[in-house]
Structures are given as structure tokens and as C-alpha cells.
């Protein structure tokens, strides 16, 4: 039952704070045209489209219907998948199921966001329950700050430890021509950047970006014809928890623990640290680059700072994390999790340019909403 699926091409825009030259549909079209160019496909070759973004950031209802002209979806099957910050990975997982189901051979996954068009924090605040949470919920940054504080208290992790994560990702972005922020930062610069919500400072947190990504998923019979080395989807898993912010256990991110365990099992990974070659981690802020790799089982709780200081997760290290520069360098929310999948795929496909590492197994994660996590594992071989 079901067919195996590989990613055969990735297209993305050059991400910016504000793309004044194109509207949303045109932005989407840019990424789509690039994906088609990459794979040598035309619009006619696409069997179906899945698209996602977060509605309130652009204020457009029924984005799937609105986007058809730019998405290449006129007179084609299209649906919208949206799950908050995990939207991009939910879209990727949906595209996987579209093809794996046998209903389609070539499916285009599109994630996009034009965060410049509205008040991002204002939009995010509406994710909170209007009766119980909305009056005090102040957006993504303060809630992540609560997690960071709990983590620091539990394990003695410091702001300096987190800053080292920012340094790594911002340095990696220099090798990614598509990244939004392409300027290195030092630990000192991170520590002295403006405090937003203790302990999160400006250089600890992701930017807001206008950008789009389009990833082509193909069935096992078609994929090898479209690219020399498809990035085969070996596992997908989603876990989410909590509707109310007061319910969260800030000392652990259980959804990522559960989703990664499930994905490892599907992909036959028993020793994540040894068996994974590269990770594109949905890391909206620096502290997550420590706490969440513990959740991924790469090391024991509290040990992540040492791993990071030792350079293990740097581009030249044993287990590179965020060779693309990650979310700290580019954050077009509806696309962000899809970019994790796309960038991980580029690594497997051998098409990651100057940010290429030696990769047979890649992990991409998504994060969002009320501590939801998605995990996708890609490999050189289909399972």
C-alpha cells in the first residue's frame, strides 16, 4: 500500500525584510518558477498543489483559491494546510501523503509569508484563546522567554551559551545566497543587543521575512528521472500538545521528544547522534538550539551547551545544525518549516552549494503553535 516518495527540487525566493516589488501572488510565483526550473518541469507536469501560510499575516481568506494564478494551480487540484508555525512542515508532510497515496505522481508544496504586510505580533496574539489567554498573552517572544528562563534555571545554562548558537547560524547564512540576514555576529554583540523579553535579546530571536519556498515531491517511479539523487522521505511525524499556555511544561518540549522518537523508529535510527548527518532545526530563538537538541536525543538534558561550544554542530563539525543559517537568519513563517525540509533535501541531493555537508541522512523539524513539533527524515535511500 502506498508508494515511496522523494523530493526532487527546491525553489525559494531571495528572502528580505520587505519585498516592495512583488505582491503575495507574485512572490509565490517566483519560488514556484524556480522549483520548476530546477526540475525541468512545466506547470503541466504538476499533478497537485498544497499551499500554506498563516492567514492573519496577510489578511487573505482562502489563500489556496486566491493563489492559483501564481501557484500554477489554475484547473488543478489544490488545498491549503495550515497549522501555525509548523505550517511549512505540515504542508511538506501533506505533499508526501498526496504522492504516497498513489493519487498523484508530482506534487508541489508551497509555503510563503509576507510578514511585512502586517503586525506579526498582533497577528500571533490571536492564536491565544480569547476567553482565557488573550488578555495576557503578549506574543511569541515572551512565551519563548518563559521556556528559556525555566531551562536556564533547571540546568545552569547561560545567555552566553545561547549566544554561541546565534553566532553559528548567522555565520552559516553567509554561505546561503537566499538567506535574509547575512551578517555575522559575535557572542559579545548578541549579549549586548537590546533586551526584548528576558533572557531573549534582539540577536537571540528570528527576524520577520518576506519569502516563499516551493518543494517538488515525486513518486518513486518518477523521481529518479527528475534528479540524480532524490531526497527520499523516510519518516514523518507530528506531535502537538496544549491549547492553553498555562498547561505547558516549560522544562521540556515533549512534542519534539515524541515526534522525533516516532520518526527515528520509522527511519530505523537507534543512535541519533551517530546516524544523523545534518539537521535543519526549526529554531526560532537561540536557546532552542540548546534545549531542543536535547529533546532530539542528541545528548542528555543540560549537555547541549558543551556540544555547541565544542563546535560539534558547526558546519565543519560532526553533526552540523542549520547549515542554511536556519530560522535565526530567515523567517517567512509559512515557508520557514518548509525551508527546513527543502534545505535538508538540498543536502541529500548534493545541491546545497557552498553550504553543502556530507549527508546521507538529514532531519528537518517544524515548530509552532502551542509547542507543536513536526519531524521529517530524508535519506539517500528510500525505505
Amino acid at each position: 500500500m502506498g508508494q515511496r516518495v522523494g523530493i526532487v527540487g527546491v525553489g525559494q525566493t531571495h528572502h528580505r525584510s520587505r519585498r516592495k516589488d512583488v505582491n503575495g501572488i507574485e512572490l509565490i510565483n517566483e519560488a514556484v518558477q524556480r522549483a520548476l526550473e530546477e526540475t525541468g518541469l512545466t506547470r503541466d507536469d504538476i499533478d497537485a498543489v498544497v499551499i500554506g501560510n498563516m492567514d492573519h499575516f496577510e489578511g487573505i481568506n482562502y489563500v489556496d483559491m486566491w493563489s492559483v494564478e501564481g501557484a500554477g494551480a489554475i484547473m488543478k487540484p489544490i488545498m491549503k494546510v495550515t497549522t501555525g508555525g509548523t505550517t511549512g512542515s505540515s504542508v511538506a508532510i501533506s505533499a508526501y501523503h498526496h504522492v504516497a497515496s498513489g493519487l498523484f505522481d508530482v506534487v508541489l508544496a508551497i509555503g510563503w509569508e509576507k510578514n511585512s504586510e502586517s503586525d506579526t505580533t498582533g497577528g500571533i496574539i490571536t492564536c491565544s484563546d480569547p476567553i482565557w489567554d488573550r488578555d495576557y498573552y503578549a506574543g511569541a517572544i515572551p512565551s519563548l522567554a518563559v521556556e528559556a528562563s525555566a531551562y536556564m534555571k533547571a540546568y545552569g545554562v547561560t545567555e552566553k551559551d545561547a549566544a554561541r548558537v546565534s553566532v553559528r547560524d548567522r555565520k552559516n547564512a553567509l554561505r546561503n545566497p537566499f538567506a535574509h540576514l547575512r551578517r555575522e555576529v559575535t557572542v559579545e554583540e548578541v549579549l549586548s543587543s537590546p533586551m526584548l523579553s528576558y533572557p531573549i535579546k534582539l540577536l537571540d530571536i528570528c527576524p520577520r521575512t518576506d519569502g516563499a519556498a516551493a518543494v517538488v515531491f515525486a513518486s518513486e517511479s518518477v523521481a529518479p528521472k527528475l534528479t540524480r539523487q532524490p531526497a527520499w522521505v523516510n519518516a514523518t511525524s507530528v506531535s502537538h500538545s496544549y491549547t492553553y499556555f498555562g498547561d505547558i511544561d516549560y522544562t521540556s518540549i515533549s512534542s519534539l521528544e515524541i515526534a522525533s522518537k516516532d520518526a527515528y523508529q520509522q527511519a530505523g535510527i537507534t543512535d541519533p547522534f551517530r546516524q544523523i548527518d545534518v539537521i535543519e532545526l526549526y529554531q526560532p530563538y537561540s536557546f532552542a538550539g540548546l534545549k531542543w537538541i536535547e529533546a532530539l536525543g542528541l545528548c542528555e538534558p543540560g549537555e547541549a551547551p558543551q556540544l555547541v561550544w565544542d563546535g560539534v554542530t558547526d558546519l565543519e563539525g560532526e553533526l552540523p545544525i542549520n547549515p542554511s543559517g536556519g530560522v535565526l537568519s530567515t523567517n517567512c513563517i509559512g515557508a520557514t518549516a518548509l525551508l527546513r525540509v527543502g534545505e535538508a533535501a538540498l543536502q541529500i541531493m548534493g545541491k546545497a552549494g557552498e553550504r553543502q555537508v556530507d549527508a546521507k541522512v538529514a532531519v528537518a523539524t517544524g515548530f509552532g503553535g502551542c509547542y507543536w513539533s513536526d519531524v521529517m527524515i530524508l535519506g539517500k535511500e528510500p525505505r
Binding site: 500500500m1 502506498g2 505582491n23 498563516m54 492567514d55 492573519h56 489578511g59 487573505i60 481568506n61 482562502y62 489563500v63 489556496d64 483559491m65 486566491w66 493563489s67 492559483v68 494564478e69 494551480a73 489554475i74 484547473m75 488543478k76 487540484p77 489544490i78 488545498m79 491549503k80 494546510v81 495550515t82 497549522t83 501555525g84 505540515s90 508532510i93 501533506s94 508526501y96 501523503h97 498526496h98 504516497a100 497515496s101 498513489g102 493519487l103 497577528g123 500571533i124 490571536t126 492564536c127 491565544s128 484563546d129 480569547p130 514523518t236 511525524s237 507530528v238 506531535s239 502537538h240 500538545s241 491549547t243 515524541i258 516516532d262 509552532g368 503553535g369 502551542c370
Partner: protein, 379 residues
């Protein structure tokens, strides 16, 4: 296509305003009803697809409000933002892919809470259309006029649809607007956007619906007779209203053709026994019947006049009362699937269509039926 069936359905009563229920309450009610219907435990439900919309719910990441109520805690779950038929389609794919054996699909709607004109106006592109002030009803007026001009369909023809469906609703315990109407009642009802009058339009409704899909192995062990999925198709036309001839339905015929081809149906009118289609307005039932290939263009009105689409007719259309009788947005398409499943089981009680062996469920997305989703199911 592998065999997958609907093994459980649940619906809440559709009402103008359900003040005592939150989104989560509605989803929990529909979910538990579907589980009881399927005689399945929450542990056995492998994965969940919720259907919600950030505008209608007044919250970003609207799925957050209902995931727990849908029993999705610690399960793989996702959310489709669109009509229920599309969400159910994703739920189907997740089984066909071999990843899951069962999928719960649940949709909810509390249209009573927001401003319909403003929410539907936000479907329109902010650059060229939105400030002109179009909304769901005025845009439908443009389409109705165009269809009726081009195919010589009259307001009285449309009134017959409204009369039939509101009458049918009397046999449906979930329906909101069940009543007997005359042509005069419809024709003299308050004009909204001509030629659409109050009784030509669907109501504002709150409610939820859920279905449980299962792979063949599991469906065979089902407590109830499975409603097998034989064919599916979906398609979207161009977006801008002025880019297409609103009287034409290329997207619907394309979607239908795909579904019929998978189901091995060559003569839809003969081979299909019962249809639940998305009649947000009375003219739409006539249009979609033509787009689904049940008759030639402009000829649906005749079928209605002749009583062919009555519950006892040879092609029963909307024996549930359709969307004209209850329009919980997003949920309405899933309700169409729930109703067809009940018909195929022979459990549709007073609204049962005799001898229903093959059924069609239809849902739509976007303004003026830009996107359509067609399902063919059978015993």
C-alpha cells in the same frame, strides 16, 4: 485505488446560534458521536485531520482550539483550511499512503460569531477587489444573474429548489431550517442581491460534523456497513471573478470526471442514486447538477420541475435538506459525506432514499464555486 471506507459519522444539530457550545464542545460532540457510531475507541484512531478557518474562528492557528477535543493529543494530526470535503480527502490520502489505518476528520463552524459580510469580503484580493466591497452574497448575485441570463433559467426555477430542500429538511433531525414553502413565499421574500432573495440563500449556522475513514482491513470489521470510497476528484478554476465566465463550471466538470473515471461511472444520471451537493444558494443546485453531468446545460430546472430530484425520484438530490437548510461553513461539505454514508447504510431514517447503492457527495471552496471536490461512494 486501495479500498477505504467511511465507518463512522457524527453530526451536531445545526442551529442559528449555539451559545452554550465553544468550538471545542462542538468538535467533541461530533467526534464522540462518530466514535460511538463506529464503535471505535480513541486509541484505535491513528490520526486526525481537523478542518477550521482562522477568519471564521477569529483566531490564528484556529486548529489549536480544537485538537484536544478531536482526541488528537499525542497523535499525528494536521489541519486543512477549506471545505470539509477537502479535509476528508487529505484524511483519505493519509490512509492510502499506508501510514495510517484510520483517520478521524472533523470540522466545526460558529458562523454566528463573526460578521459574514466582512469575513467573506476577506476572500477577495485586497489590491483589486476587496475595497469594492463584494462579499459572499453579492458575488453570488453576479453569478446567479449570469447563469440565469445565459441558460434562460428563471427565479421560479430556483424557487423550486428552495421549496424541495426546506421540505426535505423536515425529515432531517440535524437540519436547521425545515419548513414548507410555496413559490410565492420564495418570490416575495426579501431581496438580498438580485436575483437572490432570502429564501434562495442558506442560513447562518453553527455546528460540527465528523467522519471516520478506515483502510479495508479495518473497515471490514466495522460495526456498521462501510460506505466505500470509489472515486475522488478536486479542481480549482481561475481566481478573479472577471477571469472566468461565471456561468461555466470547468473546475467542477474536471473534478467530477476524475471521480467518475476512478469509480468506473460512465452515465452519472443512471448510475448514481443519491446526491448531496453544496447548494449555498438555490441557483447553485441547478448549476452543480449540470456541472456534475446529470443533464445538459440549462436543463437542471426541468429535472427539478419533473420531480426527478425529489427523495422518491430517480436521482434524489439533497434529501438531507442540503446546505440551504443548514450552512455551517466548512462543516457543510463534511456533512454531505456523513449524509451519503448514512444513505448507503440504509440508516438515513425518514430521509432515506430507497435502494441507495451509489452516492455522490460534493463540496466547494472559494467565491462563486471556484474550487470543487467530488466524492463517489458505494455500498
Amino acid at each position: 485505488m486501495e479500498r477505504v471506507a467511511i465507518i463512522g459519522v457524527g453530526q451536531t444539530k445545526y442551529e442559528r446560534q449555539k451559545t452554550e457550545d465553544s468550538f471545542a464542545d462542538l468538535v467533541y460532540e461530533a467526534t464522540t458521536k462518530a466514535m460511538a457510531d463506529a464503535e471505535i475507541t480513541i486509541e484505535e484512531i491513528d490520526n486526525v485531520v481537523t478542518i477550521s478557518n482562522d477568519f471564521w474562528d477569529g483566531r490564528t492557528i484556529s486548529s489549536m482550539a480544537v485538537m484536544d477535543a478531536a482526541g488528537a493529543a499525542n497523535k499525528n494530526a494536521s489541519t486543512v483550511e477549506g471545505d470539509g470535503t477537502f479535509g476528508a480527502l487529505y484524511g483519505l490520502m493519509r490512509i492510502l499512503s499506508g501510514s495510517y489505518r484510520t483517520t478521524l476528520v472533523v470540522a466545526h463552524s460558529k458562523s454566528s460569531m463573526g460578521s459574514l459580510p466582512i469575513i467573506t469580503n476577506s476572500m477577495f484580493d485586497p489590491i483589486y477587489y476587496r475595497s469594492v466591497g463584494l462579499d459572499g452574497i453579492s458575488s453570488a448575485g453576479l453569478q446567479a444573474r449570469r447563469y440565469m441570463d445565459k441558460y434562460l433559467v428563471t427565479e421560479e426555477d430556483c424557487a423550486l429548489v428552495s421549496i424541495k430542500n426546506h421540505h426535505n429538511a423536515k425529515a432531517n433531525p440535524y437540519a436547521q431550517l425545515a419548513t414548507e414553502l410555496t413559490v410565492e413565499d420564495v418570490m416575495s421574500s426579501r431581496a438580498l442581491a438580485e436575483p437572490i432573495k432570502l429564501w434562495d440563500a442558506s442560513p447562518i449556522s453553527d455546528g460540527a460534523a465528523a467522519i471516520i475513514l478506515a483502510c479495508e482491513n479495518r473497515a471490514k470489521k466495522s460495526a456498521k456497513k462501510p460506505a466505500w470510497v470509489k472515486g475522488v476528484g478536486y479542481c480549482a478554476d481561475a481566481y478573479y471573478l472577471g477571469d472566468r465566465d461565471l456561468a461555466e463550471m470547468d473546475a467542477l466538470s474536471t473534478a467530477a470526471k476524475k471521480a467518475y473515471s476512478m469509480a468506473g461511472i460512465t452515465e452519472p444520471f443512471k448510475e448514481i442514486d443519491v446526491v448531496e451537493l453544496y447548494d449555498a444558494f438555490s441557483y447553485q443546485e441547478l448549476m452543480w447538477m449540470e456541472g456534475l453531468g446529470f443533464c445538459d446545460r440549462g436543463k437542471a430546472a426541468k429535472l427539478v420541475q419533473e420531480g426527478v430530484t425529489q427523495r422518491q425520484g430517480s436521482l434524489a438530490v439533497n434529501p438531507s435538506g442540503g446546505v440551504l437548510s443548514a450552512h455551517p461553513v466548512l462543516t457543510a461539505g463534511l456533512a454531505r459525506l456523513a449524509e451519503t454514508a448514512l444513505q448507503l447504510r440504509g440508516e438515513a431514517e425518514e430521509r432515506q432514499v430507497e435502494g441507495a447503492k451509489t452516492a455522490l457527495a460534493h463540496g466547494m471552496n472559494g467565491s462563486c464555486g471556484q474550487g470543487h471536490c467530488v466524492w463517489v461512494l458505494s455500498q
